[in-house]
C-alpha cells in the first residue's frame, strides 16, 4: 500500500516535471492578433472564453481579439489580409479559401498536419483543408445538413421518416392534401436553394459527379444535370415549397414551420437553436437524413466546416501555430462544440459529442452513413462566381420552372468563362 502511494507520488512528480518542461519550451511572448467572424452572441462568447483559456496557458502573450460582423467579414477579409494582417483569422474550408491561397495570403500549415496529434485526429477534414497537396488552415467546427421536421405533424398524418424518393414524395402529397406545405424555405439570399441543389444532385448522381461539376468538368446543359432538375421539378410542381419563398430570408421562413404551415426544413444544424427558442420541443422536432433518390448511389452529405488560418503576412506565426494546435485539441473541441456553446460537431476524433439528439444523429450520419463523401456546401465547393450565378438560377427555377433551358444555357456560358 505504502509503496504504491510512493510510486504514484513519484510518477506525479515526474509528470509535473515533464509538463513544466513542456510549457517551458513553448513559452510564447509578443502580440497575438486574432480576427473572428463569430459575431452572433453564443459563438462570440464561446470564442472569447476559449481565447481566455489560451491566455491562461500563455501569460506572456498579449492577445488582442477583434470580432467582426459575420457578413461584413466576408468582404473585409480581402483588405486585412493584404494590408494589416492579424496573426489568426477565421474563414471557411474548400474552394472558399482558394482565392486567398492562390494569392499567397494564407500560410501553408502542412507542418501542423504532419504532427501526430493532428494527423491522427483530424483526418476526416484534411481533404477540405487541402489545396495543391498542402494544408492551409485548421477546422474548428462543422455541422450536418439534413431535413429537420415536425415529428408531431408527421405522427398526426401517420407518416414516417422517408428513406427513398417515392416515400418522400408520397409523404409530401399526404401533407399537401391536409393543407400543410412539405418544406419551408426562404430564398431571398439564394444560398438556401444551393442546399437543395446539393442534395438533389448528390442523391441523383452521387458525390463524385457533384465534385466533377464543382471542378467545372460537366456542362450545365448535360442530360445528367437536367435529370437532377427534373427531380427537383417534381417537388416544385407538387407545390411542395412554401409560396413566395423568394421574399424571405432563412430566418423569416422559420415561422412557417413553427406555426405548422410547413412540415420540414432542409437546413444546417444551426436552425435547431432558433426553432427551439420559438417554442418547439424536442418531441415536436426531429431530424432525418435526406432520402436516397437513385438506387445504388452512395449517400453523401453536406457538412460545412469553419476554419482558422494564419495569414501569410502575420507577425507572430509561432504563437499562431500554438493557438491552432490549442483550438483543435480534443479538450477544447469538446468544450467549444457542446450544447451550451456552438452546439455543433467537434472536428477532433478524440473529442466527445455533447448529449443532444441532433448532434448525436448528425455525428452518426456523418461518421457511418455518408460513404460517398462529405461535401462542404454549394457556395464553398463551387468557385465564387459560378456559385453566385448558379444560386440565382436555382431561385429563378424554383419560381419559374419553365425557364430551365434558358437558365442552364446561361450557367453553361458562365462555366466556360470561369473555368477557362
Amino acid at each position: 500500500m505504502r509503496s504504491t502511494l510512493k510510486a504514484s507520488a513519484l510518477a506525479l512528480t515526474a509528470a509535473l516535471a515533464a509538463s513544466t518542461a513542456f510549457a517551458g519550451s513553448h513559452s510564447l511572448s509578443g502580440d497575438l492578433k486574432i480576427f473572428l467572424d463569430t459575431s452572433n452572441p453564443a459563438p462570440r462568447a464561446t470564442m472569447e472564453a476559449m481565447i481566455a483559456r489560451f491566455q491562461e496557458q500563455h501569460p506572456g502573450l498579449n492577445i488582442e481579439t477583434t470580432v467582426i460582423d459575420r457578413e461584413a467579414y466576408k468582404t473585409q477579409i480581402r483588405n486585412f489580409l493584404t494590408a494589416d494582417a492579424p496573426d489568426v483569422a477565421t474563414w471557411y474550408a474548400a474552394n472558399r479559401m482558394r482565392p486567398y491561397v492562390e494569392a499567397g495570403l494564407f500560410e501553408d500549415v502542412s507542418d501542423l498536419w504532419a504532427e501526430p496529434a493532428i494527423a491522427e485526429n483530424l483526418a476526416s477534414t484534411k481533404g477540405a483543408m487541402t489545396i495543391d497537396g498542402k494544408q492551409w488552415g485548421v477546422p474548428y467546427t462543422y455541422y450536418q445538413w439534413g431535413i429537420y421536421y415536425r415529428k408531431d405533424l408527421y405522427d398526426q398524418f401517420g407518416l414516417s421518416e422517408p428513406t427513398n424518393w417515392e416515400e418522400m414524395k408520397s409523404n409530401c402529397q399526404t401533407l399537401l392534401d391536409n393543407g400543410v406545405k412539405c418544406y419551408t424555405i426562404g430564398t431571398k439570399f439564394l444560398w438556401t436553394a444551393g442546399g437543395w441543389f446539393d442534395y438533389l444532385n448528390l442523391r441523383t448522381h452521387g458525390y463524385d459527379f457533384h465534385m466533377e461539376m464543382a471542378a467545372g468538368d460537366v456542362a450545365w446543359t448535360d442530360d445528367r444535370v437536367r435529370q437532377t432538375f427534373a427531380n427537383w421539378r417534381e417537388l416544385i410542381d407538387m407545390g411542395a415549397y412554401v409560396d413566395n419563398h423568394q421574399n424571405y430570408s432563412w430566418q423569416e421562413a422559420l415561422p412557417f414551420m413553427v406555426n405548422g404551415d410547413a412540415a420540414a426544413y432542409l437546413m444546417g444544424n444551426f436552425a435547431v437553436a432558433p426553432l427551439r427558442e420559438a417554442g418547439l420541443t424536442d418531441d415536436q422536432l426531429d431530424f432525418y437524413q435526406f432520402p436516397a433518390i437513385t438506387e445504388g448511389v452512395a449517400m453523401a452529405e453536406d457538412a460545412p466546416t469553419d476554419t482558422f488560418h494564419i495569414p501569410a503576412n502575420a507577425n507572430n506565426k509561432e504563437a499562431a501555430r500554438e493557438f491552432l494546435r490549442f483550438v483543435v485539441s480534443a479538450e477544447e473541441q469538446t468544450v467549444i462544440n457542446n450544447g451550451q456553446n456552438l452546439g455543433q460537431l467537434p472536428v477532433n476524433a478524440s473529442a466527445s459529442i455533447d448529449d443532444d439528439k441532433f448532434l448525436e444523429q448528425g455525428f452518426a450520419m456523418l461518421s457511418s452513413n455518408s460513404p460517398g463523401g462529405v461535401a462542404q456546401f454549394f457556395d464553398r465547393d463551387f468557385p465564387a462566381e459560378m456559385a453566385a450565378e448558379a444560386m440565382q438560377g436555382f431561385q429563378e427555377f424554383m419560381v419559374f420552372p419553365d425557364n430551365l433551358d434558358d437558365i442552364l444555357a446561361r450557367l453553361e456560358q458562365v462555366r466556360q468563362r470561369v473555368y477557362k
Binding site: N244, N247, D379, E385, A387, Q392, Q395, E396, V399, R410
Partner: protein
Amino acid sequence: MTTATLPDTDPPKRGWYKRNEIAVTPWLFLAPAILFFAVYVIIPIFQSFSISLYDWDGLGQAEYIGLANYQELMNDRAFEVSLWNNLKWLVCYLLAIPAGLFIALFLNQTVTGIRIYKSLFFFPFVLSQVVVGLVFAWFYLPNEGLLPAIVGWFGFGPVNVLGDPSWATYGIILAGLWPQTAYCMILYLTGLNAVDPEQVEAARLDGAKGWKMLWYVIIPQLKPATFIAFVVTIIGALRSFDLISIMTNGGPFGQTRVLSFYMFEKALSEYGFRMGYGAAIAVVLFLIMLVFIAYFLWSMYREEKGH
C-alpha cells in the same frame, strides 16, 4: 542748389508672394479642395478606366485583356436588365417633382397647425433609407403585409410586389418616391415664399386664375427650385442602392438590380471577385451620369452668363 528729395519711387523690396499675391491667393484657397477632389474623385475616375481593361480578382496579378470586359457587358443580360432598371428609376423618380409641387401648393396656406402638417409631410425625408426600405418591405409582404390586405378588400387576388420580377422594381421606386417627394416639397415650399405677390396680384387683375395662374405665373417663378429639385432627383435615382439592397437584395433572380448594385455584386460583394468587370460597369454608369452632369454644368454656366 538744393535737390528736392523725391519720394522714393523704388518701393522697398517685396517678397515673391507679395508681388504675386493677386494671382496666387485664389489658388492657395483652392488648393485643399483641388487636392482632395483630385485624390478622391479625378484620379479614381482614371483608375476605374484603367482597371476596367484588366481581369483582376482584387488579390492576385492583374491581366491586361483590352476591351474584353466591355465586350462581355454587351452580351450580359444581367447588365441589360440593370440598365433598363436604371432607366425606369430615372423616369419614375421624376414623378417626385410634380408630386412635391402639388403637396407644397396644398400646404402653402395659413391654417392653425400648418407647421405640424408640414413637418409630418417632411418626416419621411428625415428617415434613413434603410428604415424606409424595411417599412415598405413589410407593407408589401405577401401574407402579413398591409398592401395584400387592402387589395384583398377590393376582391383582387394575392399580390406579391417584391417577389414578382415585373413589379418589384416599381415597388422599390415607390418606396423611394416617398422621401424624395418630401424633399421636393420642401424645396418648393421655400420657392413659394419667394414668389412675388405683386405679380400674382397683377395676374389676378388680368383675370388669370386656377391652372393658368399656376402654369404662366407661379411655375416660371419657381424655376430655380425646379432646377434644384431636378438635380437632386436625378442624382437620387442614379444612386439608388440602399433601398434595393434592403428590400430585395437585387432579387428575385437579379431583376431589380441597377448598375450601381450590379457593380457592387460583381466586384465587392461576398462572391464578387471581378474588379475589372465591376470597373467596366462603373465606367458605363459614369458615362450615363456624365450626360446629366454636363447638362447641369452647361445650364449653370448659361445662368451665370445671363446675369
